[in-house]
Amino acid sequence: MTRRAAPVVKKARTARTRRPEARSLPGPETIRREELANGVVALCRENFSSPSVVVSGYLPVGALEERPEQAGLADLTASALLRGTAGRTFNEIYEALEASGASLSIGCGKHFTSFHGKALAEDLGLVLGLLAEALQTPAFPEPQVSRLRGEKLTSLKIRDDNTGAVAGMTFDALAYPGHPYAIPEDGYPQTVGALTKGDLHKFHQEFFGPRGLVLAVVGSVPAGTVLDEVQRALGAWTRPAQPTRRPLPEVQPPHGIVRKQVALAGKSQCDIVVGAPGPSRLEPDYLAAALGNSILGRFGLMGRIGDAVRESSGLAYYAYSSIGASPGPDPWEVLAGVGPANVERAIDLIRQELRRFATRRVTTSELSDNQANFVGRLPLQLEANEGVASALLALERFSLGLDYYQRYADRIRSVTRDQILETARRFLDADRLLIAVAGPEDGAS
């Protein structure tokens, strides 16, 4: 199946921001929040329109906790949590899940270990029980750990042969020298290859605990029942000496144009990443940056960047901009895939758009269109249980307040053109950018 990525964007007209019915949006009346005595926070919202339930959440344990020489340790640990526990073998865990048509996965990023489960409502207890076992009493059994390590090493080889992944890693290395963000969460073949069962066990013992664990349960189960199940599964977990995360080092903006190109044999297309470290989700002006990013490289599918690089010039199949939404300084970047002959032209066009973005205010109609989009798309984002669970977790992760989505339209409407220009100037300067290119030898080197 071939999917179209970026249709056209040319004209605009001013739009009125519609406000979805506030009562239909998650808020204090429909979100149940409970904090257990051990610090676990549970958020639930009932939805009886289909007989299923979603369990999503996170712990504040990630790649930031690992030492550079053990890059990939947090990721491997998270992946190994479901490979066997004190009470069940790998096969017993997955037989229970798959025989019920349920799923549960645990993964890891820079800041968080995240989990996601889905089941028919009658199997909520099963999923919560397995999750609790995996988080509290993982066994890290052999040969499961060595098998998993082998699977990870295979995926690292695939990653290191992928132009998009290589361009992204090259960009991170340029943007975050000496910073944990320079290191890929899944590590390197040499670091992952050296990790042992003992390393995983030690990492789990040192960092995992109930404080900071947040889970959202959304679906066809009464909130009271959910909270009873959560208490049963996770209420007894204690960890008195759970450590607190060290603050992240400061990130410096680029001092000029810094460019690196990596050649990969046998490739047909180049992937380009252009940008700089961007704002954290916790910054007061994050919404201004997010609206600005939408204008720059999202709206109408790909915003100004899509118009310049794809629609007007026909240079790329995909071209868009991206901004993070984490507690750290994720990249604010433009990404494009172009033929080797078009790399320089695409980079020039991207820099032109960034210069315009950081020197002139967006237009009134651009701002109102994007404000309308941010508010209008909420019902679609909150249509399925997964979307609601993700939204609830964001409330807790960034201390937004249970009425955030009900106040969301007003917050979006209060963002001004000057605020967007200010954030653009702060983070994106066309003369101080990091540029990474990965592709065929004749196009990228």
């Binding site: 179209r4 037989e95 799923s103 042969d161 992928n162 690196k260 990969l264 019902p379």
Partner: protein
């Protein structure tokens, strides 16, 4: 009325446009899909990729809605839209807040007949599509799959990839594209499926007003060349850069409407894991499937999966494995063949079949949460069968017996009915 109590309408306008409407009042959203019965299956050598390129051109504007206006209009209203081209069909969808769907309907009615295909836009899109193909070529799995399809279909037009061959992408003209559009984008070759928060009567009135005046046209000629029965195993070996080997084994498989499709679905679930019915992902893990245990747990492969597609003509059941660096594709194939022999020698255990049915029930429930996904199935099922196929999906699976699966497996999984594809990495890697 559907089993879930949602009102459903099947009808056809006088100009031949098929209409399927389904009321779902769980969220204030409506998803509208227009399906055209044209895909890479309808293409011949020299014009491969033309259906997909035509799909791109339908985003390039009409006199009423110049290029770019609608992207912004739909985004402004909080909607999402996209299009897909596949072997059998091309589909366009908008999912929007319920009170804004009229924009999507007006757009689709307009571009069914009035797309411009301006020459400059055709040329601009040529490089975009070539770039899309080059991006796919970066992936060894795309290149292996392309070779596998070409080997499996010597005669039938499932032979080539949807994106088309590079030679054709360089030579297809504006006139070729416009002729393709005029031939296939006619109401009597299309189906409109709408699901969501509306009343059927009002929606049908609006659809008649918007689409009813588009004139019927001659029915597009469809000249299929059936694939003759394969007379022996075929093998394809592809070499290229990288450090990872891949194995793909493709068996000629029943079409979506054939009775054997259902036992094969259960068999796929047992062999390689249950496949999601959700258009946008969200399946189950496959760690208790037979092939996972035989290939991944035995540390021969890093991953394994299967795919069975519901198509108009008999297509392929494909098993794919990523070979671990310290193993060879041949070792993985040997282990896979041992599992295939088990399937051919003895019926599946009743417990395995029961698990597959439970998984299908759960996935069916998950898939029904999204209105976009419901509208997708309202149309997709009509491309190769009808909506009753989808409504009866779980019940049909539940009636499948181990003996039926054995019979289907012996037809499909015969060695003479397959193509084995191997990607052998030649090394390489990155350098500054």
């Amino acid at each position: 009325m559907t089993a879930a109590g949602n009102r459903l309408l099947r009808t056809r306008l006088r100009n031949g446009l098929e209409v399927r409407l389904k009321e779902i009042h769980t969220a204030p959203l409506i998803s509208s899909w227009v399906w055209y019965r044209v895909g890479s299956r309808n293409e011949r050598a020299g014009r491969t990729g033309i259906s997909h390129w035509t799909e791109h051109m339908l985003f390039k504007g009409t006199p009423t809605f110049p290029a770019g206006v609608l992207d912004k209009a739909i985004s402004r209203d909080g909607g999402t839209w996209n299009a897909f081209t596949w072997v059998d069909w091309t589909a366009y969808f908008e999912t929007m807040p319920a009170d804004r769907i009229d924009l999507g309907l007006r757009l689709e009615a307009d571009r069914m007949a009035n797309s411009l295909f301006e020459k400059t836009e055709v040329e601009s899109e040529r490089t975009v599509i070539i770039s899309e193909r080059q991006g796919s070529e970066n992936e060894p799995t795309f290149r292996l799959s392309e070779e596998l399809m070409a080997a499996a279909f010597r005669v039938h037009s499932y032979h080539h990839e949807v994106v088309g061959d590079m030679a054709d992408l360089k030579t297809i003209s504006r006139e070729d594209l416009y002729a393709h559009y005029r031939a296939f984008y006619v109401p009597n070759n299309a189906l409109l499926a709408v699901a969501g928060d509306f009343r059927i009567e009002a929606m049908l009135d609006r659809i008649r007003a918007l689409f009813g005046a588009i004139p019927r046209a001659p029915q597009p000629a469809v000249r299929m060349r059936p694939e003759p029965e394969q007379q022996g195993e075929r093998r394809v070996t592809l070499e290229g850069p990288g450090e990872t080997a891949y194995l793909e084994v493709a068996y000629h498989a029943p079409s979506g409407a054939q009775a054997d499709f259902f036992p094969m679905t259960v068999l796929d679930s047992v062999l390689a894991g249950a496949s999601s019915l959700n258009l946008f992902g969200g399946g189950l893990s496959n760690k208790t499937s037979r092939l996972y245990r035989a290939l991944v747990e035995k540390e021969l492969a890093a991953s394994v999966g299967g795919s069975l597609s519901a198509t108009i003509d008999p297509y392929l059941y494909v098993l794919r494995a990523t070979v671990r660096p310290d193993r060879s594709p041949e070792e993985v194939l040997d282990a896979l063949d041992a599992e295939i022999r088990r399937v051919l020698d003895n019926p599946l255990e009743a417990s395995e079949v029961a698990k597959a049915i439970k998984q299908a029930r759960a996935l069916f429930a998950y898939g029904s949460e999204s209105i976009t996904n419901q509208a997708f199935w309202l149309g997709y099922s009509e491309m190769f069968a009808d909506y009753a196929w989808f409504e009866g999906y779980v019940d049909r699976l539940a009636r499948v017996t181990p003996e039926e699966i054995l019979q289907a497996a012996r037809k499909v999984l015969a060695p003479s009915n397959r193509v084995v594809g191997i990607y052998r990495p030649t090394g390489g890697g990155a350098h500054d």
